[in-house]
């Protein structure tokens, strides 16, 4: 994998500069930090929503910063959680006194760093709460494990928490609806090729020409099972079946995200989506709204994930409420 970069150690810094130069009406970068916030931050009278994580998942998370979604996103090094000192800057920059919600993806590193920042914020008297997204059904969820990872479903949590905050809801209310979203969102991914961390310079794993890695995360970590590569409809069926087996979707209405991991052409994502919608129709699950595209990527990985969010009327309303970001549209 070749890269269009200058220096592997500066990719995050240069990316953030490029990003805010491209979209000054949406975004600004807090000086000397890796925090991207709404260009019109801080917004008075509103709960602030902060998320973030390692870089390499673009457009996550800065692409979801804007009215009706995140107030700020904190970028770590590639695939490495940001540090507490950066996170606390983000928190402070969006706290109007109504409190701040942290949306954390469930990885040991992210949880530790964000919770340290949360403790620091508490010490400074900031009203703060956090939720941990764990939508990846590929990973076993039990008290003996670190629990499920947060992957593409996190984007729905951003959207819904952001929309709720935009209604003027309290921190408790925003947190509650974020928790509800987390309880109802499930995802699973597959990789056809590994990705290459710029500073590592070589692929995270190897896959033979006729292999795929089922249950892949978004950090180039190996998945849970290696299977022979199949045709699109079969791969899709494997993933959807696993997602559907996890909670009861009977007669449910759902939002769907078919998320490209980086190098899979949009054409293929639509082919996948065709099959997903077919399966849902067979099972009498109603599609409320669909997103197909790249939302939570893994650098240049080939592959995709499928996310289903089970909806009630509150989630439906919030999901389609106006939003103004670079990468998420309704």
């Amino acid at each position: 994998m070749k890269k269009v970069i200058n220096n592997a150690n500066h990719v995050v810094d240069e990316m953030l500069d490029g990003l805010v130069t491209a979209y000054p009406s949406f975004l600004k970068r807090l000086p000397e930090t890796t925090v991207i916030s709404r260009s019109d931050a801080l917004v008075q009278g509103k709960v602030g929503i902060v998320s973030g994580g390692g870089s390499g998942h673009e457009p996550a998370h800065a692409g979801f910063v804007g009215k009706g979604m995140l107030d700020a996103a904190v970028a770590g090094e590639v695939f490495t959680s940001p540090t507490p000192d950066q996170i606390i800057e983000a928190i402070k920059s969006v706290d109007s006194g109504n409190g701040v919600l942290l949306i954390i993806k469930n990885y040991t590193g992210d949880v530790m760093n964000f919770e340290m920042a949360q403790e620091m914020a508490e010490m400074e008297g900031i009203k703060i709460a956090s939720v941990i997204v764990n939508d990846d059904v590929a990973v076993e969820d039990s008290t003996f494990t670190v629990g499920r990872r947060g992957i593409a479903g996190t984007v729905f949590v951003h959207k819904i928490a952001g929309a709720k905050a935009d209604t003027g809801a309290s921190l408790e209310e925003v947190k509650a609806v974020a928790e509800k979203t987390i309880a109802n969102v499930r995802s699973m991914g597959v990789a056809l090729s590994p990705c290459t961390v710029p500073a590592a310079g070589k692929p995270s794993f190897t896959l033979a020409d006729n292999e795929m890695e089922i249950g892949i995360g978004i950090h180039g970590e190996p998945g849970i099972e290696r299977l022979p590569l199949e045709e699109a409809d079969n791969i899709t069926t494997i993933l959807v079946d696993k997602v559907l087996a996890d909670i009861n979707y009977e007669k449910a209405e759902v939002a769907l995200m078919v998320n490209g991991l980086g190098s899979t052409p949009e054409m293929e994502l639509h082919i996948v989506n065709r099959k997903v919608s077919e399966i849902l129709q067979e099972k009498e699950i109603t599609l409320y709204k669909t997103w197909v595209g790249e939302y939570m990527t893994s650098l240049d990985m080939e592959g995709f994930s499928i996310t289903l969010l089970k909806l009630d009327s509150e989630l439906k309303d919030l999901l389609v409420q106006d939003v103004k970001t670079i990468a998420f549209h309704v």
Binding site: N9, G54, G76, E77, V78, F79, T80, S81, P82, T83, P84, D85, Y107, T108, G109, M112, N113, M116, A138, V139, E140, F144, T145, V146, R149, V197, A199, A200, K202, S204, F205, G217, H219, G220, E221, P222, I224
Partner: protein, 206 residues
Amino acid sequence: MIILTVDKAKDWMKEIQKRMFDHKDQLTELDQAIGDGDHGINMARGFHEVVAKVNHTSYDSAADVLKSAAMTLMAKVGGASGPLYGTAFLKMSLAMQGKEVDQDVFKQAINDAVEGLQARGKADFGEKTMYDVWKQVANFLQEEDVQDWHGILEVCQATIEDTREMAATKGRASYLKERSKGHVDPGSMSSFYIFEALAEVLDLEE
């Protein structure tokens, strides 16, 4: 006898930095096998920053050096290892605060670091993490002297080898479950370099 002075604490950091730099690829490869392939990068970046910091600061005590290192690691590493090593060094620093670092203080510092790691990472022994190495070093020091570097490094190495056969239940490698077996834990390996660096520094005097 004073084990750790300001200068030796600084040298410790420099020796760690050298090792993380030299073994960056090894650590990254270990992490690619069962994690996300950034551990070598994280360690090299973190200790580069630590050395940059301690080189240009004057300190009153070894405790202050370690505190500076801890804060730098927390601010510059990120991921799982940043807060963990940050916590370990911070706990050591706190144990040394206002004291001359002799055998007992040092042993206490290691003990506190181990507790800190456990509190931060919620890991138990045998979960295939850096905690295993620190815990075994602490156990060893219950019986033996800090000066027995040969013994300490042997313990580290044995523990690292033990992690190879484990299925991880904490950290990123835990997603792989049984498939994590057969690979050494990257954080345990980097912990080895931390103790190897310490041996090097304390040996200098002998």
